[in-house]
């Protein structure tokens, strides 16, 4: 099977899983030592901020808590586009650079609005069968998220 397609499919699946709030499905795509970070450059502070930085265990705990918290009644649709795949370490891993747009659609009435744009900087482990996410860095372009969200990007 084409490695580029497998890797791209992994990125797309990870986003579809989160759209569907299939958190166990999302975690199944992540390697055991997965690390997830959300960063944003702050022009106000003139430095990078870290908005989230969790390993797989902490991510799992966070996702277990999400359904227990009050949440906006919207569906979130993620539209990633894989721009670039770079293989390294003899093809045992790949860096994947994607752009993503997220839209919120209200359950009441169905209005859709652009919610955020960001970049996904992923590292994919190819050394052990099916590709798995080793790390994801979400680099936010959007810094104003209104009421925000508890679900990962």
């Amino acid at each position: 099977m084409n490695a580029d397609k497998e890797i791209s499919d992994l990125v797309y699946k990870s986003c579809f899983m989160l759209d569907e709030m299939d958190f166990s499905g999302y975690l199944s795509l992540c390697a055991p030592d997965y690390r997830y970070r959300v960063v944003a450059y702050s022009p106000e502070l003139r430095k990078d901020m870290v908005w989230q930085d969790v390993d797989k265990e902490a991510m799992q705990h966070h996702l277990e808590l999400v359904p227990k918290h009050v949440r906006e009644m919207v569906s979130v649709s993620r539209f990633p586009t894989v721009y670039l795949i770079e293989y390294e370490d003899g093809g045992r891993r790949a860096k994947v650079f994607s752009g993503m747009q997220l839209f919120k659609t209200k359950l009441d009435g169905g209005e859709t609005r652009l919610y955020a744009v960001c970049r996904l900087n992923d590292v994919v482990d190819l050394s052990n069968g099916a590709p798995r996410l080793l790390s994801r860095e979400v680099r936010m372009h959007t810094r104003q998220l209104g009421t925000g969200t508890q679900v990962p990007f």
């Binding site: 502070l45 908005w51 808590l65 227990k68 918290h69 009050v70 209104g146």
Partner: protein, 401 residues
């Protein structure tokens, strides 16, 4: 039992201090009056000193009046504030939130100013203006600016108002030790929410809404001593809640151990400054909220997360993690608070039958008493010259008649 239209519109059979007419949250005219009578007369946090640490660093701030302010640290290390407006044709001088510049030059016609607000260059000054206009007379409009406790930079566009010390009084004394440390902002984000600024601040003035937060139900709300914490009102509408050590194990599986100097581990402290600033310590994290109303139903809230300057990387990482888990834009609690306020505004849309909002809980000024709001609206009413329960005077007039 449900109510008829008349019953809904009837004033609650409560003291006038125990409810407000929801029109104070939705009326455009009242909003404009609030800007003039409140926000243009009080001290507001514009930034933190760590956001402009070096000489000639600058920072902009959107004042509720609609004016952009420019704060700049001079060569003498003092921070001064000005209208971010060129004296020539009113152009906005600085477009970005922060930077560094020894002189501020307007992009339009290149009039330039120094960090003390003096105009230092007008291209072809004498050729065009002769002796009608000279640099000495066209400096920037300076705004009162003071460094307060914790290194926050406060501004007041009313040259005649009381000093910052007089305005705050002793309201921050419960955080005196914590705010006396050398602090820096490690997190900043804005949320523009479709709600009235007072609804957001109301949420920070009562803990009755802890029922909404899964986190709070499992931690503080279930603890011994939770209902013993007392709200202490201060002059000028400020209020402070007794501190408490929170047990986080039920939510996180373990207790917080990293402290904030001056506080016990897992200490929770809350101080609200009128009209819309909140200091919250959930050791080891500290958060300060400030607000800029953008309209009757729109507010920009600025969230700052603070740590200690030069603290060890491990401490900073832990402080950051605890901050982000609850209070970050992707945190579990913050979304709930913001959502509740948007839903309030959604339900309060200025319509035919404005609701009354009840502030009637009385529990000896303790955690779930609504004294924080009653005290706030007493100050609001004093400054506005309106009764929050009857802002148009109609009920009062009807009674008189």
């Amino acid at each position: 039992m449900s109510r008829t239209s008349k019953q809904w519109a009837d004033q609650p059979k409560l003291p006038p201090t125990h409810y407000v007419n929801s029109r104070i949250y939705t009326d455009d005219a009242i909003h404009r009056e609030e800007i003039e009578k409140i926000f243009n007369r009080v001290w507001l946090i514009a930034c933190h000193e760590s956001e402009l640490p070096n000489k000639f660093d600058y920072r902009t701030f959107l004042h509720p009046s609609g004016r952009s302010l420019l704060l700049i640290r001079g060569e003498d290390d003092s921070v001064r504030a000005f209208y971010n407006t060129c004296s020539h044709r009113g152009n906005r001088l600085v477009q970005v939130p922060a930077g560094n510049a020894k002189r501020i030059t307007c992009i339009f016609h290149h009039w330039s100013y120094d960090p003390k607000g003096a105009c230092i260059d007008i291209p072809r000054e004498t050729q065009g203006y002769g002796d009608r206009i000279c640099k000495a007379n066209v400096g920037l409009r300076e705004v009162r600016c003071e460094r307060g406790l914790g290194g926050f930079i406060w501004v007041n566009i009313d040259d005649a108002s009381e000093s910052l010390t007089e305005f705050i009084g002793d309201a921050l004394e419960d955080l005196q030790v914590e705010l006396s440390q050398s602090l820096e902002v490690f997190h900043y984000h804005q949320a523009i929410i479709e709600t009235n600024y007072k609804l957001w601040h109301d949420t920070n003035r009562e803990l009755y809404h802890d029922y909404m937060h899964y986190h709070n139900r499992l931690t503080g709300l279930g603890q011994k001593g939770y209902f013993d914490r007392v709200y202490h009102p201060y002059p000028n509408g400020h209020v402070q809640l007794d501190s408490m050590e929170i047990q986080y194990q039920a939510y996180r599986g373990k207790q917080r151990t990293l402290t904030w100097p001056g506080s016990k581990a897992a200490c929770h402290k809350l101080i609200d400054i009128f009209p819309g600033t909140t200091f919250i310590l959930r050791a080891p994290s500290m958060r300060v909220d400030t607000m800029t109303p953008l309209g009757a139903n729109r507010v920009m809230i600025e969230f700052r997360g603070l740590g200690l300057k030069n603290e060890p990387a491990g401490d900073r990482a832990e402080r950051l993690m605890e901050h982000n888990n609850l209070w970050g834009p992707l945190g579990l609690n913050l979304h709930e608070d913001l959502l509740a306020n948007e839903l309030q505004t959604d339900a309060m849309r200025d319509g035919v039958e404005a609701a009354y909002v009840l502030h009637a809980r009385e529990e000896n000024n303790t955690t779930q008493d609504e004294i924080g709001m009653r005290q706030y609206y007493a100050e609001w009413g004093r400054r506005m010259g309106r009764s929050p329960h009857d802002p148009y005077g109609k009920a009062t007039a009807a009674v008189a008649a």
